[in-house]
């Protein structure tokens, strides 16, 4: 009822006594930092564990253990004395981990999946920072992959660095153009980006299906059993720096993704463009008053967002897929997972990295190949991934709930500390 609602505090004095819910949240986000996302993930895993228990009756911990082993992340725990060959040379140096073990192989697969997730995560996060919701990661990824594969097929025999560079730049640009359409529509006529990017996803899907499908212009005429493009030239393939190139080793696209995280941070914090994007994202009215062109920021933020997603598409093609399959075009999910990555990672570069690692690990860990079917049915496991993914998104939306949960755990401790006279420093904010 109306009496039940807490009144908003006097608009002009946020520090005046009662902080609003949003302010309290911001306070905990600053104070707790990584805590809320960690709790979010933890709760998602606990509920996932209950699902395991209910569906299979098996110990969720042993199932999680099996999934974890399948991700190859256990590799880090097996420390010994080994040696590795420095990339692009013959020199061997001592290394604490065995780079040739099965776990290493699994880890390579995980990181291959993590790479595009980082990029689509950045794509969603960058748009978020401008107050935009880019749901079009899938379409932008598809367009990037299409352009990447075509450039990879053309120009065979070009020097390798140049060929890779051209393919990546073209795909990135294509992703930017694709998202830029939504950006222009938002900037000029105010069409909501959620609607337009979803529509562009479908357009990209059907353009891709036409180009790659049977008798499509990009379909490899020799591949008569399944519609797929021609393979890209060797000169366009990203070098593998860990593992056997013939067995899908880890390619340098991983470093490109790490580099993209740095670029993302620099763009936001160290450029005037980033300043504009953040200002518009936080308060478009204040940005306009400050002399910033809000439509221009919308367009640029959207285009840059799409560039990262397009880059993700190119890197998957040039790194390990080498050709584009119709089924891939029609089942791209990576843009959506990117939303979960950005949400869980709190739009923060380090957070995005770890969130991408989490989701990438879940995807590989529960894949049919890696999970022992006697422990957990793989077809259920794939769904488990989705359950956890969904729960994470749900809980990130329910940030407040997590904070509340955390507070209620902490309360007894705070009271205890107070009683002991060790009350946490309460910085009495100097009023005017």
């Amino acid at each position: 009822m109306t009496e039940g609602a807490a009144p908003p505090p006097p608009a002009s004095s946020p520090e005046a006594g009662p902080p609003t819910v949003a302010e309290r949240l911001a306070f905990y986000q600053r104070a707790g930092g990584v805590l809320a996302p960690l709790l979010t993930a933890l709760i998602a895993f606990i509920i996932g564990g209950l699902v395991i228990l209910a569906t299979t009756g098996k110990n969720p911990l042993s199932t999680y253990r099996a999934i974890f082993d399948g991700t190859g992340l256990n590799w880090f725990f097996h420390v010994g004395s080994y040696s590795i060959t420095l990339p692009f040379s013959e020199t061997k140096v001592w290394f604490p981990w065995d780079t040739g073990s099965l776990a290493a192989l699994n880890l390579q697969q995980t990181l291959i999946v993590v790479t595009p997730l980082i990029l689509t995560g950045i794509a969603v996060a960058f748009a978020f920072r401008c107050g935009l919701f880019n749901i079009g990661g899938n379409g932008q990824y598809t367009i990037g992959a299409l352009v990447g594969v075509q450039v990879g097929v053309w120009f065979a025999g070009m020097p390798r660095p140049l060929h890779i560079l051209i393919a990546i730049v073209a795909a990135t640009f294509a992703g930017a153009v694709w998202a830029g359409i939504a950006g222009i529509l938002k900037a000029t006529v105010g069409a909501h980006e959620v609607i337009t990017t979803i529509m562009l996803n479908w357009i990209a899907l059907w353009i891709g299906s036409y180009l790659v499908g049977f008798n499509g212009p990009m379909q490899d005429p020799r591949a008569i059993s399944a519609p797929v493009t021609k393979p890209i030239a060797d000169s366009a393939k990203l070098p593998v720096f860990w593992g056997n190139p013939a067995l899908q080793g880890l390619h340098i696209g991983f470093f490109i993704a790490i580099g993209a995280l740095v670029v993302y941070w620099i763009l936001l914090k160290r450029t005037t463009l980033g300043y504009e994007v953040r200002a518009v994202g936080f308060n478009p009215e204040a940005a306009r008053y400050g002399g910033i062109s809000v439509p221009k920021s919308y367009f640029l933020a959207m285009a840059i967002s799409g560039a990262f997603a397009g880059l993700a598409g190119a890197i998957d093609i040039l790194g390990w897929e080498f050709r584009l399959d119709l089924t891939v075009v029609q089942s791209v999910q990576i843009g959506f997972i990117g939303i979960a990555v950005a949400l869980l990672g709190r739009n923060n570069p380090v957070g995005i990295f770890f969130a991408a690692l989490l989701f990438g690990a879940l995807l590989t860990g529960t894949s049919t190949r890696n999970l022992d079917p006697t422990i957990f049915k793989p077809e259920l496991a794939g769904n488990l991934t989705r359950i956890i993914q969904g729960l994470v998104v749900l809980f990130v939306g329910a940030d407040l709930l997590i904070v509340y949960f955390w507070q209620s755990i902490r309360k007894p401790f705070i009271k205890l500390r107070r009683r002991l006279g060790l009350r946490a420093k309460s910085v009495a904010v100097e009023a005017e």
Partner: protein, 508 residues
């Protein structure tokens, strides 16, 4: 009049929020039939204290007694059952429902089981408004009535629930002077009918007009409770702020120079496409403050937005320091030498999630030395911010502090500091002291006069007549999008008030 028996008594109320003690062992008592004002700066703990009484917050320590009986209030429901009603600054009404429906909501008279008996509801509301002398139309939809009327609906809501203690949280903040006077009439009727009223405010003149006793809070602590008789604005201000406050603005006579802002026959539309500014012409000259007085909604906001490039100019001409800036973008107008203190600092003046350094660079983040070739130098922003924050006496945070962490007064100092440190030719100050307390108001006023003495042309838009009269060298009155007259600064508030309501025009 009030008798000595307290109907409500608070003893040692303490409330802590993370990082701040909002109320620190506050004692307070409300006598039967009195209006007791709770006075204090923003952040002094007034609203928190009353929200505790109304059950929205729970005190960490202390006791609440109603009619000498210690009670615990867990929720607004408890408070209502004890006869305590509260009207918040932000109304909690459902716009699409009628006045009567809103009033009975949650406690509706029903017939045939669960069906709302609208006729009975209507009658109860009519009876109530007759008893207490409210002029209100029970069948009007809330979205169609004015703010003053909505406030009455809120008060009636409390009366309908048999409140005999009524808490009003800054009730005049949203009202025009006339509406405020009508509210005071209603409050007097209510106390005659036996209600006791707690009146939260930070406006000295109001408190002196309506209250029987005044309790002053400062930084969560009670300073004193004084009867109205013998209280003065100066004395109360000193208690609120903790030091002497200059309530009158000291300023040397104006020496106006050439016109820096020239507005000719300006036409501007509002959101609905209706003419909000209807052929306005005026000049503001170097070294003078021109006050633009008017009741809210007579085109002031649209005029300011048009002058600052935020709203399209339909017809007419604007010249800034001799150059035509009609239709120029906000960016261009700012760079031609306009400073603009916007009327809503939180919605427009600041990016609350930006640091103070970032906020101070809002107009020139992309100019040297803050940036070069699109590359931003955050450290230079911080350096410059440090100077401005010191110069404008911003307290409660440094360059890296988020703007949202500051109090309203300090936030406004940041805005004022940003606009004035750019040395603008023309300074638009739109309600520069809205929601500020006396200490901060004094500061802003002094800075506006300094800007004028330094050779700026200042256009001051304010709903507070007192502010207009005390600061301006010339006063313009805007009514329905037209300039309704020009007055010298020694004009009486009554005369201005008449012009503001269009009376002068009708007489002419």
């Amino acid at each position: 009049m009030a008798d000595e028996r307290p109907v409500l008594e608070l003893r040692g109320i303490t409330k802590r929020f993370p990082g701040i003690v909002a109320d620190d062992h506050v004692d307070f008592d409300l006598r039967d039939g009195e209006v007791h004002a709770l006075l204090g700066e923003n952040g002094a703990g007034k609203s928190t204290l009353m929200n505790i009484v109304y059950g929205l917050y729970h005190a960490d320590e202390g006791e609440i007694r109603v009619n000498d009986e210690p009670i615990r209030i867990h929720s607004p429901k408890d408070a209502i059952s004890r006869g305590i009603g509260m009207v918040h600054q932000h109304f909690m009404l459902i716009p699409v429902m009628t006045v009567a429906e809103n009033i009975v909501l949650g406690n509706e008279p029903t017939k045939a089981g669960d069906i709302l008996d609208y006729a009975a509801a209507r009658k109860r509301v009519t009876d109530l408004s007759r008893q207490f002398g409210f002029a209100i139309e029970p069948d009007a939809r809330v979205e169609n009535i004015g703010v003053g009327q909505q406030q009455r609906v809120e008060i009636l809501k409390a009366l309908y629930r048999h409140a005999d203690i009524l808490i009003l949280d800054e009730p005049t903040a949203v009202l025009t002077p006339q509406e405020a006077n009508e509210l005071f009439e209603i409050l007097r009727t209510l106390t005659r009918e036996g209600l006791s009223i707690i009146f939260i405010s930070h406006k000295l003149n109001e408190v002196l007009e309506i209250a029987d006793r005044i309790t002053v809070l400062r930084r969560g602590k009670k300073v004193d409770t004084v009867p109205r008789a013998g209280a003065t604005e100066e004395g109360l201000a000193r208690m609120m702020v903790g030091r002497e406050v200059l309530l009158r603005v000291d300023k040397p006579p104006a020496t106006p120079g050439e016109p820096l802002l020239q507005v000719e026959n300006l036409h501007v539309l509002d959101e609905l496409g209706l003419e909000a500014v209807n052929g306005v012409s005026f000049d503001v000259r170097r070294g003078e403050i021109v006050g633009l007085a008017g009741v809210d909604g007579n085109g002031q906001s649209e005029l300011i937005e048009a002058l600052s490039g935020l709203r399209k100019v339909e017809a007419g001409r604007v010249r800034l320091a001799g150059r035509d800036v009609t239709g120029a973008s906000a960016h261009d107008v700012l760079h031609r030498g306009l400073g603009h203190i916007p009327e809503d600092r939180q919605r427009r003046g600041l990016v609350l999630n930006f640091s103070l350094a970032e906020n101070l660079a809002l107009h020139d983040y992309d100019a040297e030395p803050n940036a070069r070739f699109g590359w931003l130098f955050p450290r230079r922003l911080v350096q410059r911010a440090r100077g401005i924050l010191r110069q404008f006496d911003v307290r409660g945070g440094g360059p890296q502090t988020l703007a949202s962490a500051l109090s309203g007064g300090n936030q406004q100092k940041v805005v004022v500091g940003r606009e004035m440190s750019r040395d603008p030719h023309v300074l638009l100050a739109a309600q520069p002291t809205r929601g500020l307390d006396v200490g901060a108001i004094e500061f802003v006023h002094r800075r506006l006069v300094e800007a004028r003495n330094g050779g700026a042309a200042v256009l001051l838009v304010s709903l507070e007549l007192e502010e207009i009269v005390s600061l301006s060298d010339r006063v313009l009155v805007i009514y329905e999008g037209r300039i309704a007259g020009e007055y010298p600064p020694d004009v009486s508030e009554e005369e201005l008030g008449l012009a503001m309501t269009g009376a002068r025009k009708e007489a002419a």
